[in-house]
């Protein structure tokens, strides 16, 4: 792969806007190199906000926004940042972006802001963002860094949305607040004749650990990744 990359870097003009290598930057984090299931990053918020789909969706959008723009800013500044203080610079950039997200939520979606409470602030310490800045944006061009941020953000988003899907479905019998089990007949008037009994453990933290553990199992079996 390395020689190919070098050749492509040399004749930069001819590289397509979405060349094969660049599509890889987005595709790899979605499965083979997923930030949550393979690299074990960003677990904290992945679990905390996933009791329902709606806050999870907001959280995913916030993280995608932060990781893309943090990658872009650090990539633009990468030659100006002295190695010794780079962690502080990265934290300052991330904290600024997260403050922006927080203020926007507070102004336009106050209920959501209340519901997510401290977990928006905790995007600052989400290891995915820090990890991508250290591992990618510090040594790559801005456009590639944006794609890398987007790929990792989406890789994070689909895993936490999957966890939230199962937790909300079994924990409260609904998807995005829409009562699924009731709609297919689980109620005293429906054809089943009794209500769906919500599985309380899915709403507690324990349910999140189990669901994520199982998703990791399925995903790693599919990609063939084994940890030693």
């Amino acid at each position: 792969m390395s020689t190919e990359t070098v050749e492509k870097e040399v004749k930069k003009e001819s590289e397509a806007l979405l060349s094969k290598r660049r599509r890889g930057l987005i595709n790899d984090p979605l499965s083979d190199d997923n930030p949550i299931t393979i690299q074990v990053l960003g677990i904290c918020s992945a679990l905390a906000v996933t009791t329902q789909m709606k806050p999870t969706l907001v959280m995913s959008i916030a993280v995608i926004f932060v990781v893309v723009f943090a990658n872009l800013s650090i990539s633009l500044m990468r030659k100006l940042i002295p190695g010794r203080v780079r962690i502080i610079v990265q934290l300052a950039v991330i904290a600024t972006l997260v403050t922006l997200v927080n203020e926007v939520l507070k102004a336009f979606a106050f209920d959501m802001y209340k519901e997510l409470s401290v977990f928006v602030g905790l995007i600052i310490t989400n290891c995915i963002v820090m990890g991508r800045l250290e591992a990618y944006a510090m040594g790559n061009k801005p456009y590639d860094s944006i794609l890398d941020g987007l790929g990792n953000g989406l890789g994070y988003a689909w895993i936490i949305l999957a966890v939230a899907f199962f937790r909300e479905l079994f924990g409260s019998g609904a998807i995005f607040g829409y009562k699924v089990f009731e709609a297919i007949g689980f109620s005293s008037e429906g054809w089943v004749g009794f209500d769906y009994q919500a599985n309380g453990i899915m709403v507690t933290p324990v349910g999140a650990f189990f669901i994520l553990g199982l998703i990791i199992w399925v995903q790693r079996t599919k990609t063939g990744y084994v940890e030693h």
């Binding site: 074990v40 904290a95 507690t204 324990v206 650990f209 994520l212």
Partner: protein
């Protein structure tokens, strides 16, 4: 008495790991051996005990609306000034510099402790449990004494959790786990089971 209650509550009932999932990254990554888990746990307790009260002072004396009136109690501008939107940046700056400071002090005062804690200290700056405690402290409007107790005891809660997990994982090396579950997968399931055990504390009302 209130303070003791708060302490017990934040160690067991509202455990950082099992109730709020905070500090999971290093919780999963550094729990392979009891001795390293012990070192990291101690460092977390230490840094939490310092940063939560310091951030409390920052919150009360600089960031909140009208908090700066101690400079000049007459000034109208200072009374209306609300800097709380800066809290994320200030908190993380305090944590990062505290970690740096603590590292330097320990290195000078006790090289032996530095030897055992040294490599974990930089890791702590990005541990969500630390920032999370400061944010919870701000949200719940604790007093200074409460903030101190809360910082210390949530650190202890995290410490207990990581030691317990590390001890289980040391045993786990000898069991036959399916390939896809090895490492992170089985650790998540075990954490879930430990979470069930910790849920039994929820019945206690303090």
């Amino acid at each position: 008495m209130e303070l003791i209650n708060l302490g017990i509550k934040s160690i067991f009932i509202e455990n950082m790991v099992f109730a709020y999932f905070l500090g999971m990254c290093s919780f999963l990554a550094v729990s392979k051996k009891v001795s390293t888990a012990f070192g990291l746990g101690l460092a977390v307790v230490f840094v939490l005990t310092i940063t939560v009260p310091v951030n409390w002072l920052l919150q009360e004396k600089v960031l909140n609306q009208g908090a700066l009136t101690w400079i000049n109690s007459e000034s109208e501008t200072l009374k209306n000034l609300d800097l709380s939107f800066l809290s994320f940046i200030m908190f993380i700056a305090v944590i990062a510099s505290m970690v740096q400071l603590v590292e330097m002090v320990i290195e000078k005062v006790s090289p032996a402790l530095y030897g055992s804690l040294g490599i974990f200290l930089p890791l702590i700056a990005v541990n969500c449990a630390i920032l999370g405690s400061s944010l919870f402290m701000a949200q719940r409007e604790y007093s200074l004494a409460e903030a101190g107790v809360y910082g210390f005891s949530s650190g202890i809660g995290w410490f207990l959790a990581i030691i317990a997990l590390a001890a289980i994982r040391e045993r786990l090396k000898y069991s036959n786990v399916p390939d896809g579950l090895k490492g992170l997968g089985i650790t998540m399931l075990i954490t879930g089971l430990m979470g069930i055990a910790f849920m039994s504390f929820m019945g206690i009302s303090i």
